[in-house]
């Protein structure tokens, strides 16, 4: 059975959903790793990417109540916070003065704030862009975009193009969770459906915005649910080609309503490999070190991943749910991990172009 899949992979044929299930149910992790590495190398050579980036979460106040989330708060609840645009700019400015090498990308995601108008977000993006013109802004998940369109009364297309005009450079892939409706409803009833998530992404790609895609796994979903998720992503990618990287996100159990346990290291690696093999139309598979831990992320580079994300600087969402990692890694640490895994470290920009610096 695996022989057949091996043959398909080596001859460049597309895997079916049944193939993916066979791979999830196999314990031959060495075959998985070698096949996934073969594909990763075909796509990206021996390169593995990292980025100098910074996360900003303007608020944790959110109208949704996703049961796997330990970050969100209601307005007025203890621990709830909101940042003004001036505060954010000040933070970035102080940091910039201290950093020898500035970060190239800002990753902004936050809660669905009940009172903030759409103009807050437009202004946030344009003010940052005005102050730091070289900084790439990768911001707002499909869930936030959908919410902006609702609160502003604008169409998806208008919402996206307004943000783009203000300086939005690309979009992250969050909020995808698991598309399968039955699981999704149990996890995050208030959140937009999987279909809507895909619709927003299609609109973003159409508007000329590149995005990522994610999948939250290791909670209550089955292998079939994971495959269904991957299948829908591959389908949309066939149509638009707008996804840059796929990022499987390992569920974290602390302080959440569904509890459960951390994912296993072997499941993390297997999921990376199968994503690499099944998503033949995605250029990049990212092993997000904040969630996997730097050890498993490094190993993931031997299991089909070609990106371990970035310096991050400050991470709130996974850390609310019991992240076992620190909040930041230096560019030197990231490139060291990549080198020790036998790959060539490449500092990338938000579009996977090599960053060149005058020495």
């Amino acid at each position: 059975m695996l022989e057949k899949i091996r043959g398909k992979v080596l001859s460049g044929k597309r895997l079916t959903e049944a193939d993916a299930l066979d791979l999830f149910e196999s314990d031959d992790i060495f075959l998985l790793a070698s096949l996934a590495s073969h594909i990763a190398e075909k796509k990206n050579g021996r390169k593995a990417y990292f980025v100098r980036n910074r996360h900003i979460n303007p608020t944790n106040i959110c109208v949704n109540r996703c049961r796997f989330c330990a970050f969100s708060r209601s307005k007025g609840q203890e621990g709830a916070y909101e940042m003004t645009i001036a505060e954010i700019v000040k933070k970035l400015r102080t940091e910039k003065a201290k950093l020898k090498v500035p970060y190239s990308e800002l990753h902004i995601v936050g809660g669905l704030h009940p009172d903030w108008p759409f103009t807050y977000y437009l202004e946030l993006v344009s003010t940052i862009k005005k102050n730091f013109p070289k900084l790439h802004i990768k911001a707002f998940t499909a869930v936030e975009i959908d919410y902006f369109s609702k609160i502003s009364g604008l169409s998806l297309e208008e919402t996206l193009t307004s943000l783009k005009r203000c300086g939005l450079g690309s979009m992250p892939g969050g909020g995808a969770e698991i598309f399968a409706p039955e699981i999704r409803n149990r996890l995050c009833l208030e959140k937009i459906s999987g279909d809507r998530w895909l619709e927003v992404m299609a609109a973003a790609h159409k508007a000329g915005l590149r995005t990522n895609a994610t999948m939250l796994y290791g909670h209550i979903e089955s292998y079939e649910d994971r495959i269904d998720h991957l299948m829908k992503l591959r389908k949309l990618q066939d149509k638009t080609g707008g996804f840059q990287a796929f990022i499987p996100l390992a569920y974290h159990p602390k302080n959440t309503e569904i509890k459960g346990s951390y994912t296993s290291g072997i499941d993390d690696l297997r999921t990376i490999s199968i994503s690499r093999l099944y998503l033949d139309n995605f250029q990049h598979i990212k092993a997000y070190w904040v969630m996997l831990g730097e050890k498993i992320s490094q190993l993931a580079l031997k299991f089909g991943a070609d990106d371990i994300d970035g310096t991050i600087i400050e991470e709130k969402i996974t850390h609310s749910a019991g992240a076992l990692t620190g909040e930041q890694l230096t560019a030197e640490q990231l490139s060291g991990l990549i080198k020790k895994a036998g790959r060539i470290p490449v500092e990338r920009d938000s579009f996977y172009r090599k960053v060149r610096r005058a020495e």
Binding site: I266, K340, G342
Partner: protein, 372 residues
């Protein structure tokens, strides 16, 4: 006389029956594997070997607690963050009541063993150790896995006894088995730099050989990822394999990587160390250990230094044992690395990797198994 324990694998053997001697890899082959082999190739070879040696798919662990009777140590190794001077404010010698309470708690949690280790305290003589062992054995039915070779040598030297005499006396007092700590890297070139006051390789091996000849089982460890070269790792593995050929007394081999926090080795720039070993390096050494040490049954994963996730992955890179639940651990924790776990979590982790979790005793006899 001490009552004899039910022990597994007490017969001396040159190699494991499953492996023909001709399959043995040479030092030269091992060195080239360590230098150039792909981690996945090494992993697959080690995984197959683990399957041959443990076809039943069991991954074992012991329920125990590390008890460190003192942190005062005259050795002051550069890689250690645990040692204190006698007059340091946080220097201690554990009092009896605290010790007994710890043992009671261990037994309550289903523990079968305590690992007693400590610093080389200039004021503790052999009588302290004899009294300690007797006091424990009088009160509790528990295996005492205690005193690594540097401690045994220090006790012997300060009492002006031979290693054999010392081990004999300690054994009579209640010592059951000897942990493999203090091996670090069995290359005197490296020891001279890292831990000049600690016993040299030959003495470490001598203690183990003597213990084995007295019928005691021991483990062996290796701390890598500091300043050693690949050759030093191979020298270490070879010394262990050679002694095991002679005595068959090692129950398990436990490689772990240097944890740098709060140690002189990382703080003093003359040693030029930047980071602890990464996951790929750990798995490489682990897999090579499985492959090279064809005469040692068990290879332990080190969740204490690598975390649960990587320890779990290491079950597919040659390890077949999850070490201990370590209700208490102080030495690694003093470097700022504090992975914590419970029996429940260890069982789940083993299960999620597709193995049958089983609790074992010090001698690797299975006491209880759980559903896969």
């Amino acid at each position: 006389m001490k009552k004899t324990k039910q022990k597994k694998n007490t017969t001396e053997k040159r190699t494991h029956p499953c492996i023909p001697a001709s399959d043995r890899i040479t030092k030269k082959e091992a060195l080239s594997m360590l230098r150039t082999a792909d981690i996945l190739d090494l992993g697959l070879t080690a995984d197959n070997m683990r399957k041959r040696l443990h076809p039943e798919g069991i991954v074992s662990f012991v329920v125990d607690r590390n008890i460190n009777y003192t942190n005062v140590c005259i050795n002051k190794c550069t890689f250690c963050a645990f040692w204190r001077d006698e007059d340091d404010r946080d220097a201690y010698i554990l009092d009896r009541d605290a010790l007994f309470a710890k043992i009671e708690e261990t037994l309550d949690l289903g523990g079968t063993q305590i690992l007693i280790q400590g610093g080389l305290h200039p004021r503790l003589g052999i009588d302290y150790y004899i009294d300690l062992l007797r006091a424990i054995k009088e009160r509790f039915e528990i295996d005492i896995h205690g005193f690594s070779p540097p401690e045994i040598c220090y006790i012997a030297d300060s009492a002006d006894l031979t290693i054999r005499e010392t081990l004999h006396i300690l054994r009579e007092a209640g010592l059951d088995s000897v942990p493999g700590g203090g091996a670090e890297i069995l290359s005197d070139r490296v020891r001279e730099i890292l831990s000049p006051r600690k016993i040299k390789s030959s003495r470490w091996l001598k203690v183990m050989e003597t213990a084995h000849l007295l019928g005691m089982r021991t483990t062996a460890t290796m701390m890598f990822g500091s300043i050693e070269r690949p050759e030093d790792i191979i020298t270490h593995l070879d010394a262990i394999r050679e002694l095991q050929d002679k005595t068959g007394g090692f129950t398990a081999f436990i490689p772990w990587s240097f944890q740098s926090g709060n140690t002189e080795l990382i703080q003093n720039s003359k040693f030029k160390i930047q980071n602890s070993a990464t996951a790929v390096e750990y798995l490489k050494v682990l897999a090579l250990s499985r492959i090279y040490l064809d005469n040692i049954d068990n290879i332990q994963a080190s969740w204490v230094t690598q975390g649960l996730k990587l320890a779990q992955v290491s079950l597919r890179f040659g390890a077949n044992d999850f070490g201990s639940t370590m209700i208490e651990e102080n030495v690694v924790a003093s470097t700022g690395v504090s992975f914590r776990t419970s029996k429940h979590e260890i069982i789940n982790t083993i299960r999620a990797a597709g193995f049958i979790p089983a609790q074992r005793d010090t001698y690797y006899n299975i006491l209880r198994r759980w559903q896969p």
